[in-house]
């Protein structure tokens, strides 16, 4: 077998924080013999989890050389692998992947992982993967190669998340996992979870799926794992491993179910889940060599594709850029927040009040025009707290605390000592100006005033105030508890302290904040309105509903255009398009059909009586459709052309600092997929950006395979 050593690492390989594989001999408890205990440790604390680059693989390979020699000499009866505190390992070091320009180089990297890891399953003595903490990707695969696995009940962050990024579990996971836990469970771990907001397993789940043979408490996990290993070595414990490969029909059914799941999520638009399913399908009858070689090839294909590069780019945006907003003022300028006022007690305002009280644990005061609305708003928040209490997510003391913090009034007098007041009233500039004037009469001069407007001018809202410098746009997405994005808009006269306070508040609310200019509809709504506007325009012109509705499928968006329109609601969507039309009449049209639907008071657009939705009959009667239909490809390209143009204009206007911020907004605010990179990588790789705007948005290699 080939031996991977530090000499095998090609020149020019990226710098790496090497995860060392420390090799140490231990006496198993109870006199069961001596074992080699390998600890994976990158020398940092748990905030920098261990990963595998080529150096890390070489270190593990060297440790396995020692283990093999000791086993051959009869000096050890077992080999065990564990990680530093709280972490086993979290997979391959992906920092170098973005620089790979050669398919063979990519294939060799995959093969190196196999060459090292597989030795754990081919030793003359049993091997034990001790899953002491987070184990993702290659980290979990290390354990999968072992003969046996123990897992700490305190371990979280267990996953094979490769498909989420655009990869496959390519260091043995796709072959070994279905054979260990069955195809149905493997499809869940390899495909379904990554495609479900990259869901992670907890120890209990992983154990339940059969990933580990025994679950042990964290307090003395290592000692008890070694005791269990000793029992396996002495024969006191026997692990039953049924052959799961016999039932071809069940295997095929599980893979087919996985395909249906992937279709529903990405509509064939991303290659990784399908490649993973192919590997799982083949794993039933492949040999180890065949299975691992197939993983190498699949990995090389994906690494050389732009989808993965966009996935890595997206991951970086969400992990790094989202946590350090570009253009935000120094956080030391932020003022402490000790009380929050919410103007309005409608559903949006009540949801905001709930979020504020849960995350900040400070008094929150709701106001509205009449007592009935106030009571309803407060009751909503109290009710949601009670629900969480009933579900066991809060204990009684915490529920009491939060409940007591939320109050309501028809008077704004309660805002007097608030640090922040947010308005969530009707989208009308005059109304909002008046609300802020009333609030300013009560609050201290440094109280920050936030508006949750989605499309009005924040600058205009502030202009008649004594202290306009304290007004900031603070745009949430619905539902506010779940959507991770906050667009924070700096108005013309907003000062740094107010803006810093808004960013600090956004962070406390656990939102990802993006700084945007005070421009109509900021980023997400501006682009979505333009994008969908082109699709509905094509429909109005005579494109058949099914063609328009499925035109965007090749992008793998989370929702088809009319389903999204239904979710937003015809009235809100129409109101937004009117606002945008006023701002940019040459680019944002008005759909007369939508006007008819809204004026007729229709709230339900679609009928769901077949496998796909159709226009509801009573709505269809209202429509006036043209006679110049487009094909699906034409509709899609028209929509893409439109947003390419719009993004270029937004960058020129300085709505955001860079294309990366546009992409971050679309990833987090619209839920657009990683394989599109948000949107600009997709516009670049389809040639749309250059054709429409004369240039790419991102340099080659940023979110695509670099030109060699």
């Amino acid at each position: 077998m080939s031996r991977f050593t530090t000499d095998t690492i090609p020149a020019g390989a990226p710098d790496e924080l090497v995860t060392e594989a420390h090799y140490r001999l231990v006496d198993l408890p109870g006199g069961a013999g001596r074992a080699a205990l390998i600890t994976l440790d990158n020398g940092k604390d748990h905030t920098k989890p261990s990963t595998f680059g080529l150096g890390g693989l070489a270190s593990l390979s060297a440790a396995l050389d020692q283990a093999e020699a000791a086993a051959a000499a009869g000096e050890i009866v077992a080999v065990a692998v564990t990680g530093k505190p709280f972490i086993l390992a979290v997979g391959a070091d992906l920092t170098g992947v973005g620089q790979l320009t050669d398919r063979e180089q990519a294939r060799v990297t995959g093969q190196a992982g196999h060459d090292v890891f597989r030795r754990l399953g081919e030793l003359p003595v049993p091997s034990f993967g001790l899953i002491n903490g987070a184990a993702m990707g290659g980290g979990l695969e290390v354990a999968l190669h072992c003969t046996y696995r123990t897992i700490s009940s305190g371990a979280g962050m267990l996953a094979l998340p490769e498909v989420f990024l655009g990869l496959i579990p390519g260091w043995g996971g796709a072959y070994l996992l279905p054979r260990l836990i069955g195809p149905q469970n493997a499809v869940k771990v390899v495909v379904e979870n990554p495609l479900s907001q990259n869901r992670m397993l907890k120890a209990k789940d992983a154990f339940g799926l059969g990933i580990a043979d025994v679950m042990l408490e964290p307090a003395d996990f290592l000692v008890q794992s070694l005791r269990w290993a000793a029992d396996v070595v002495t024969g006191a414990v026997v692990v039953d491993r049924p052959d799961l490969t016999a039932d071809a029909a069940a295997w095929d059914a599980a893979v087919a179910a996985g395909r249906a799941f992937a279709d529903a999520k990405v509509r064939g638009a991303a290659a990784a889940p399908y490649k993973a399913l192919d590997l799982i399908a083949a794993a039933r009858t492949s040999t180890r060599d065949e299975g691992f070689a197939a993983e190498d090839e699949a990995l090389a294909d994906l690494v050389m594709g732009d989808e993965l590069r966009a996935g890595l780019y997206s991951f970086d945006l969400v992990q790094r850029r989202a946590k350090r907003p570009v253009g935000a003022p120094d956080k030391s300028l932020a003022r402490p927040i000790t009380k929050v006022g919410v103007v309005g007690a409608g559903l949006m305002a009540s949801q905001l009040a709930l979020l504020f009280v849960q995350r900040l644990e400070v008094p929150v005061v709701l106001t509205d025009l009449d007592q009935e609305r106030v009571d309803k708003g407060v009751a909503y928040v109290h009710g949601e707290i009670a629900k969480q209490l009933a579900k066991g997510r809060l204990n009684q003391d915490k529920a009491n605390r939060l409940t007591a913090l939320v109050s309501g009034s028809t008077s704004k007098a309660g805002f007097a000592d608030a640090s922040v007041v947010i308005e969530a009233v009707f989208e009308d500039l005059k109304v909002k100006q008046q609300v802020f004037a009333e609030v300013e009469a009560v609050v201290a001069p440094e109280c920050v005033l936030l508006t949750n407007t989605s499309s009005l001018s924040v600058t205009a809202m502030a202009e008649n105030l004594q202290h306009p410098e304290r007004v900031v746009g603070f745009h949430f997405f619905n539902p506010v508890a779940l959507m991770p994005l906050l667009e924070i808009a700096r108005a013309e006269r907003t000062d740094d302290a107010s803006l810093a306070t808004a960013f600090a508040l956004g962070k406390s609310l656990k939102k990802s904040c993006v700084l945007v200019k005070d421009a109509p509809a900021f980023v997400v709504n501006r682009l979505l309105t333009r994008f969908l506007g082109e699709v509905t325009a094509a429909f109005d012109e005579g494109t058949p509903f099914d063609v328009a509705e499925s035109a965007l499928d090749p992008m793998g968006l989370p929702m088809s255009p009319f389903v999204l329109l239904q979710l937003v609601g015809p009235a809100v969507a129409f109101h937004t398009s009117e606002t945008m039309h006023q701002a940019f009449p040459d680019r944002y049209g008005i759909s007369e059909n939508q006007r008819r639907i809204v004026e007729a008071g229709k709230t339900v657009l679609l009928a769901w009586d077949g496998p796909t939705p159709r226009i509801a009959d009573d709505v269809a009667e209202l429509l006036v459709l043209g006679d110049s239909p487009s094909t699906g490809d034409e509709v899609r390209q028209r929509a893409l052309d439109a947003i390419a143009q719009e993004i270029r204009l937004m960058l020129d206007e300085g709505v955001v600092a860079e294309p990366q911020d546009i992409d971050l907004c679309m990833l987090l605010g619209a839920g657009w997929p990683f394989h599109l990179g948000g949107i600009t990588p997709y516009l670049d790789r389809t040639g749309t950006s250059e054709r429409v705007t004369g240039a790419r948005f991102l340099a080659p290699g940023v979110a695509s395979v670099p030109t060699a």
């Binding site: 420390h22 090799y23 140490r24 231990v26 006496d27 198993l28 408890p29 205990l37 390998i38 600890t39 440790d41 020398g43 564990t82 530093k84 505190p85 408490e217 307090a219 003395d220 290592l222 000692v223 070694l226 005791r227």
Partner: protein, 403 residues
């Protein structure tokens, strides 16, 4: 008065310990926290005694001499929480220097005796690598200025030299011979598998070596009288006390379950020893090693026994001379087989506050091996001039004179 106010018998249900390590950067526990050692012991106690429902534990007392850092924060409570004891189980910390664990046992046992507790967990720990002797010490200047305490009393090795002065016939040669026997008895007990029975394996982590597993005491070594004769006498030029005839600087933890005998019976718990009496006594701080003599005298008197009734002795070997002084006082030969049959602290080490329960664990094994013996005792000298003794009855006693 409550109607149930009757004195109850206390039994030692179980006693375990971590392997003892050498203190310092190269010791097995160099990068292991003291509280984690206690946690390992507590979890093993529960595992070994499945009949004990953890919620039945009425109190937890853990001794440490230096109650700072990972030995602070009321260890009896924090170690209980960390070990997974129910939140309803309270805890406390105890300090009587070297007799910390012994005091944790006697304090809690008193509570059992008067009916305040049914089941308790006692423990002790000292990580002398992380907490060198005297860390953070701030003696009141009056102690010296008013000659309340001889300045040498704060240095244990000097108090041992002082003991040699007081008893000139307890020579360095006798001390070295005693020390070699301690090593030999320990080696034999290991070879016979006696000591391992009550050791808790502990995972140890080293940043540079990775994880390891401590499964045996680190300090024991093979030695000879000749080797010991050549060692330095660090506490006094041309003195008698050496690293060879003293216990070392060590890391380790011990723990024990004690219960009212009727509760042990109810729960079906093992009974390894039955407490007969205990006593503490004070002596001149500069000869603290003589402390076990008066404390044993007191304990015997309170039990209505004499030294001749005691068939097994577990004496902490802080210094060989201090054991010899005890034996000399009671007319027992240096190499009497009843004394420390499995060796002692000179060989396995003496992580200060933890050692009292090690003595009990050893005595329990001796009781098991000697059903002809009815009574045994555990005793130790204590810094600043004290001694502590607990007299135990052998539950395995079969009434026959000699096996």
């Amino acid at each position: 008065m409550p109607s149930n106010r009757a004195v109850r018998d206390v039994v030692l249900v179980d006693a375990v310990r971590t392997p003892f390590g050498k203190a310092g950067a190269n010791g097995i526990y160099a990068e292991t926290r003291a509280d984690d050692l206690v946690v390992a012991v507590f979890r093993e106690l529960l595992r070994r005694n499945p009949g004990l429902p953890p919620e039945r534990i009425d109190d937890v007392a853990v001794a440490a001499t230096t109650q700072m850092g990972d030995q602070g924060l009321t260890l009896g409570r924090t170690a209980g929480i960390l070990a997974g004891f129910p939140r309803s189980v309270p805890g406390q910390s105890v300090d009587r220097m070297c007799a910390g664990a012994l005091t944790a046992v006697t304090n809690l046992s008193s509570g059992i005796g008067v009916g305040a507790y049914d089941v308790v967990v006692a423990g002790g720990v000292e990580h002398m690598g992380r907490h060198p002797m005297g860390e953070g010490m701030d003696p009141n200047p009056r102690l010296i200025a008013e000659k309340l305490v001889d300045p040498e009393a704060l240095f244990m090795g000097k108090t041992a030299e002082n003991l040699h002065d007081r008893f000139p016939h307890l020579t360095k040669a006798r001390a070295d011979e005693y020390a070699v026997r301690s090593q030999e008895k320990t080696a034999k007990a290991y070879a016979d598998g006696v000591i391992q029975q009550d050791l808790v394996p502990v995972s140890v982590r080293s940043a540079s070596l990775g994880y390891g597993l401590a499964t045996a005491d680190e300090p024991p070594r093979e030695t000879t009288v000749e080797t010991l004769a050549g060692l330095k006498t660090p506490f006094r030029a041309h003195g008698r006390v050496t690293a060879g005839n003293s216990s070392g600087l060590n890391d380790g933890a011990t723990g024990a379950v004690l219960a009212a005998e009727e509760v042990a019976d109810e729960l079906g718990l093992t009974k390894k020893a039955r407490m007969v009496s205990f006593a503490f006594a004070g002596v001149a701080p500069e000869v603290m090693g003589i402390g076990p003599v008066p404390s044993t005298q007191k304990a015997l008197e309170r039990a209505g026994l004499t030294i001749d009734d005691i068939g097994l002795f577990e004496i902490n070997e802080a210094f060989a001379v201090q054991v010899l002084a005890f034996l000399d006082h009671y007319g027992i030969a240096d190499d009497d087989a009843r004394v420390n049959p499995y060796g002692g602290a000179i060989a396995v080490g003496h992580p200060l506050a933890s050692s009292g329960i090690r003595l009990m664990a050893y005595l329990a094994r001796s009781f098991e091996a000697h059903p002809e013996v009815r009574y045994g005792l555990t005793t130790m000298c204590i810094g600043l001039g004290m001694g502590g003794t607990v007299i135990w009855e052998n539950p395995h006693f079969d009434g026959k004179k000699d096996a």
